[in-house]
Symmetry: C2
Subunit: 241 residues, 2 copies
């Protein structure tokens, strides 16, 4: 890798930026996590907001944004689709590329639904101001939506084996892992129940967790922990025993 | 086009299937809208559900599903990314492909947020059972989210001109159009306000509406009207004057 990728994302949460980080880290790609640098070196939220407001075409709607020389790209799945062939994380065929993207988008749908459990009314409001609605939405997520997604991925893995696309680990596998990590953090009781019915999914999560390529990253402080400002938030009232 | 594409989607709504239809129709591609055929020819909801339940790998999570010979693919944006180069709807460069996908995904985000105005608590419940929450979510959509998306696309178009990617109409342009049609149907009062501030977006919508390539389709009964079973629903209480 002769030049650095630049990732622009909120510095205080794993969030959607983490999906890009996992792909870059797995491949050992050289990249700069720009907003995590000190403010005087261009990092921090203020500089990030300035970058987003001043960005030239094609404008990104929101972070994460990847910059690769002249290329600047927003939207997590578009970034991963772009990086995949460059990082060896997309099967080398037109169909493989589409299948990886399909799986990534289903993971993205699950991520959005997990997020909306704590923000069912609006992203502009605080959780505390939509708690009653969050209780309802979280119940629907626990009882219906999460089991549906989990059963789906279980069935995919029963058909393909170790990875979502038979015989090839793609960026979508890393993304599925990260999402299950987030759900296990936010909904430990629910996840214990759901995962007991989905052994292939449980094994998949363990398989990614044990990748030697990611061990140095997981042991580093580059790996941000989940917290209550991100996509996946642990509010005990949303995850009854 | 030597063979037919097959599209599998709910037959009674435009929904997410319409994004695929617009691309196919614009290109004059031969395709079969399978679920809209008579049940005895494989159409109808019952056959669609059977197809989804029996589908071989790679399994789709939900419709729309595109079948192209051996290829079967779910997720609207993955289908469009696959079809784009085949239908002349993706700029012929790696960056163009990524940019079109990025724009499609931002349109998809807007679609999901428009949908969630009438289903903020859960897709498994009726609108009538989540009307109080829908009133709150719709207000956030009208006052904050829709203006934010509209201002974003306005700014993109101010930079690029006629189309989201300068000088090239991609599938994402068709998708943006369809989404604005849906929003104008569901939220006519809100859209009148928002579009008065976004002249480039208004012009973009008119530009797609006037495409000669789509005129036969718009005049045909293949073009399904919006209704209160789909993504974009007109509930007057969610769109006050």
């Amino acid at each position: 890798m002769s030049r650095n990728y630049e990732l622009f994302y909120w510095p205080m949460i794993p969030g959607r930026g983490e999906y890009v980080r996992l792909a870059l880290e797995h491949a050992g790609a050289a990249y700069v996590d720009v907003a995590r640098k000190p403010p005087e070196e261009g990092g921090g939220i203020k500089n990030l907001v300035a970058f987003l407001g001043a960005a030239e075409a094609p404008l990104p709607f929101a972070p994460p944004v990847l910059v690769d020389g002249e290329v600047r790209l927003g939207q997590t799945a578009a970034i991963l689709d772009y990086l995949g062939p460059r990082l060896g994380l997309t099967p080398d065929s037109a169909t493989g590329r589409s299948t990886a993207l399909m799986h990534q988008l289903t993971v993205s749908d699950l991520v959005s639904e997990a997020h909306d459990t704590h923000h069912p009314v609006g992203t502009g409001l605080y959780y505390e101001d939509q708690k009653a609605e969050a209780l309802l939405r979280a119940r629907s997520f626990r009882d219906t939506r999460l089991p549906k997604f989990a059963a789906y991925f279980e069935r995919v893995l029963e058909g393909t084996g170790d990875w979502l696309d038979a015989g090839f680990m793609s960026y979508a596998d890393l993304s599925l892992f990260q999402t299950l990590e987030g759900i296990a953090y936010a909904f430990p009781n629910t996840w214990a129940r759901v995962s007991s019915d989905t052994p292939a999914l449980r094994a998949h999560r363990n398989r990614v967790a044990a990748l030697p390529s990611l061990a140095p990253y997981f042991a580093s402080d580059r790996r941000l922990p989940f917290n209550e400002h991100g996509l996946f938030r642990h509010y005990p009232e949303l995850d009854p025993a």
